[in-house]
Subunit: 119 residues, 2 copies
Amino acid sequence: MTIEVLPEPAGLPDPLPEPAVGELRLETVLSALSDPLRLRIVRKLLLESEDFDHTCGWFGLDRPKSSLTHHFRALREAGVTRQRQYGLERRSHVRVADLNARFPGLLDLVAAWTPADGD
Amino acid sequence: MTIEVLPEPAGLPDPLPEPAVGELRLETVLSALSDPLRLRIVRKLLLESEDFDHTCGWFGLDRPKSSLTHHFRALREAGVTRQRQYGLERRSHVRVADLNARFPGLLDLVAAWTPADGD
DNA sequence: CATGCAGTACGATCGGAGTCGTACAAGAAG
DNA sequence: CTTCTTGTACGACTCCGATCGTACTGCATG
């Protein structure tokens, strides 16, 4: 155990590359959210995350790892989630404040969403 | 001129096939709205339609007719717009009440949207 | 160092969506 | 009837995204 440099006030690692708040585009965000699996990811984060970041494994998604990488990157690059590297884990949370500022009401729709059978 | 059967109280033609309110799916609607051209169509209808139905031509979109057919059908089949046949014209309007009932706040986001340069 | 684990990178495949040209259908108007 | 107009139908092309297997990187732990 070594003493670590603290890159942020709370000692968090830097976020992975993501669009700034002003760069968020509605069409890009809607496209990211138009996939049922990603909708499920975001909804679970909104309803059950309890303000923690979570790894891919936490979601219990029955997909190969390479598929999950694809979807989590899609969400991050659209600006829906933020990802940080904690050791060998990459944890995600929804950018609630940013999204509510730019697209008020959108996350409420996601939280209220119910998956179709099979999703 | 023959005496016509009136299919609706106001004497409007029947709507073209579309999903019922209860069949509207968030992921389908978001997918339909994730295209900049369709976002432009819906936004223009919301801001400038003055409660009238409008033909493809009214939008002044610089695309071939077959492309417009494609996008207007995508909007209708997702449940975003309703289309009726008036003679040889096919006019569209946004299903405001249905969408507000199922996805409150969504149309506000579309109305507030601003196209990127080039859209 | 050796092993195990989280996740990425790369590349292949596949299907679906956007784009459009052309031909066609149907109502409107002369 | 002939012509014009609005829009569809069909098909081709292209591109992107979803899916996944395999190989790899990087950290952690014994």
